[in-house]
């Protein structure tokens, strides 16, 4: 849109010229022409006409002046522009995004780091309750490129750490590099989570029911179990994924009937790589809301001993499935410890106490759960019960007898309330049983608050 400097006058002159061209002047037209000439002179004093001139001559002079005024006011012709180069088409062109809640009131603002926390209150029957800020974990990552990525997890346990004191711990749970090559073949190296079981690699508090992690995934499969190592990962298509690592081995000096494998993790501290352990997990996630996993682990654990070098091997099968409001998850794990008899003798000589390590440990659990509220509701209330059976002395080496107190069962019943998908308020009551008629385990009440961000 071009703006002329004298818009009204231009219109009037144009009109007059048009009318003048059609008919002879009248006194009224004569007056209007004079007024226009005066106004033109106000704008340009050099403009002159004379009453001696004819009507046509005065109109022609005014027309000429008007043309020159318009010419002066006309903006210069725009510079010819080169047509913008057509952007190269992306391999996949976005057409629309709907339901993107980033711009809605529901969206969250994310910190540059992620993390999870959980605080617990545990009360064994007949004992005073204890509150504990169990885990404060921060996760950091960095992408060196699209194909080289770093990920880490740093944890403070039990909220307080003091040098030389029995209190909490600061632990590096993960710190590794991923070299992403092909969907079906990638490399990973660093401090890795051992790919065994359901919870070890998926341990964010809102991800599982119950204040404490399952007993089977504490004693038979340790969690959080991390070791130094390297290996391969990939997605073979059709929902089949795998992870296979060579890792630092467990430490046999810390095996026991009481704690099973849980204390034997090196967690990357002075971890022996003389006989690296092999760990493999294959998962099938080809059907929506169904994940099946098969895990295997084997490694020599006697790096601290000269006379005995027992192998610990684990095989486990697990699964998770959700159908409408129902969830079901379960796991079975079996652990074999070779040379358990010799190991017990060495540990007895070393510690003065018999560790009574079994040659085979076994555990399983099943956990049905129901979401009380429909899926579309923002809050979630999950009622669950988990039945666990585990025995750290399922089989004993020759010359050793199992103790009935280590043949254990537990029934954990409770709820998880999620006011937000990433916040879990948990309650459960644990009925503990064992096969002993002498040593009775205590039932326990647990409350927990955990969140992910």
């Amino acid at each position: 849109m071009v703006n002329y400097p004298y818009p009204n006058m231009v219109k009037a002159v144009a009109c007059l010229l048009f009318v003048g061209g059609l008919s002879a002047q009248t006194p009224e037209q004569e007056r209007r022409l004079e007024r226009l000439e005066q106004r033109m002179r106000q704008l340009d004093p050099s403009f002159t006409t004379s009453s001696a001139q004819s009507w046509e001559e005065r109109l022609a002079a005014l027309e000429l002046k008007l043309d020159s005024a318009l010419a002066g006011a006309r903006p210069s012709d725009p510079k010819p522009q080169m047509p913008a180069p057509e952007p190269a088409k992306e391999p996949l062109s976005l057409l629309s995004v709907k339901g993107d809640y980033e711009s809605s009131n529901d969206s969250e603002s994310r910190m540059p780091v992620a993390g999870y926390m959980e605080a617990h209150f545990n009360k064994n029957r007949g004992e005073p309750g204890q509150a504990d800020f169990h885990r404060f974990v921060l996760l950091f990552g960095h992408n060196f490129s699209r194909r080289i990525k770093f990920w880490s997890e740093l944890e403070v346990e039990h909220s307080f750490v003091e040098g030389g004191e029995e209190s909490g711990e600061v632990a590096l749970e993960q710190a590794y590099l991923d070299f992403l090559i092909k969907p079906y073949f990638n490399l990973r190296a660093g401090m890795l989570l051992t790919p065994v079981g359901l919870v070890n690699e998926r341990h964010e508090p809102p991800s599982f029911n119950g204040v404490e992690r399952p007993f089977v995934e504490t004693f038979i499969i340790p969690t959080t179990w991390r070791e130094l190592g390297f290996g391969v990962t990939g997605d073979l298509g059709h929902g089949i994924r795998y992870r296979g690592y060579l890792m630092s081995a467990l430490n046999a000096t810390r095996l026991s009937a009481e704690d099973g494998l849980s204390a034997s993790r090196t967690s990357g501290f002075e971890a022996s790589f003389r006989n690296p352990a092999k760990a493999l997990r294959v998962e099938y996630a080809g059907v929506r809301r169904l994940v099946l996993g098969f895990s295997g682990y084997t490694g020599r654990t006697g790096n601290q001993f000269l006379s005995v070098n027992p192998a610990v091997s684990i095989a486990s099968v697990d699964g998770r499935y959700s159908y409408r409001r129902f969830d079901l998850r379960g796991l079975f794990a079996n652990t074999w410890i070779s040379q358990a008899g010799k190991l017990n003798m060495v540990l007895q000589r070393q510690n003065g106490l018999g560790a009574n390590v079994g040659s085979e440990m076994r555990g399983a659990y099943i956990e049905p759960a129901i979401h009380v509220m429909p899926r579309k509701v923002r809050q979630d209330l999950i009622l669950f019960t988990r039945y666990e059976r585990f025995n750290t002395q399922h089989r004993m080496p020759a010359g050793f007898l199992p103790l009935a107190e280590f043949d254990r069962k537990a029934l954990v019943t409770g709820f998880t309330f999620k006011p937000h998908a990433d916040i879990a308020l948990k309650f459960d009551y644990v009925l503990n049983y064992n096969a002993s008629s002498v040593i009775r385990p205590l039932n326990a009440l647990n409350l927990g608050l955990g969140w992910w961000f």
Partner: protein, 117 residues
Amino acid sequence: MRNFSLCLVGLLCAGAFAEENKDAPARTIAITAERFVFTPSKIRMKQGEVVEFILTSEDTEHGFLVPGTSIHAIIPPRGKGELRVKFVANRKGEFFFECSRACGAGHNLMRGSIVVR
């Protein structure tokens, strides 16, 4: 006259179908995002095909990013709806998509691929 009528009907039908293809709804594919897996994780489509992904989360907030393209959006957490991403495949090849929101211990491997043939 009969031939002319047939031709006219044919042209109208062809025009109607052409219009229908232009505005045809994209093929929709439901994808579930969950720590640390997309299901399905491998999507096959044809060059020039318009596809709409309907992404829902089973747990936390996840991202949906196709590196090298402008496709990047957030999958809301469970109970907060879904994400619909519609796009057209211009070129043949295999393209990755990945979670762009830190979602937990296995975040780096939460990936999938789109195979365009």
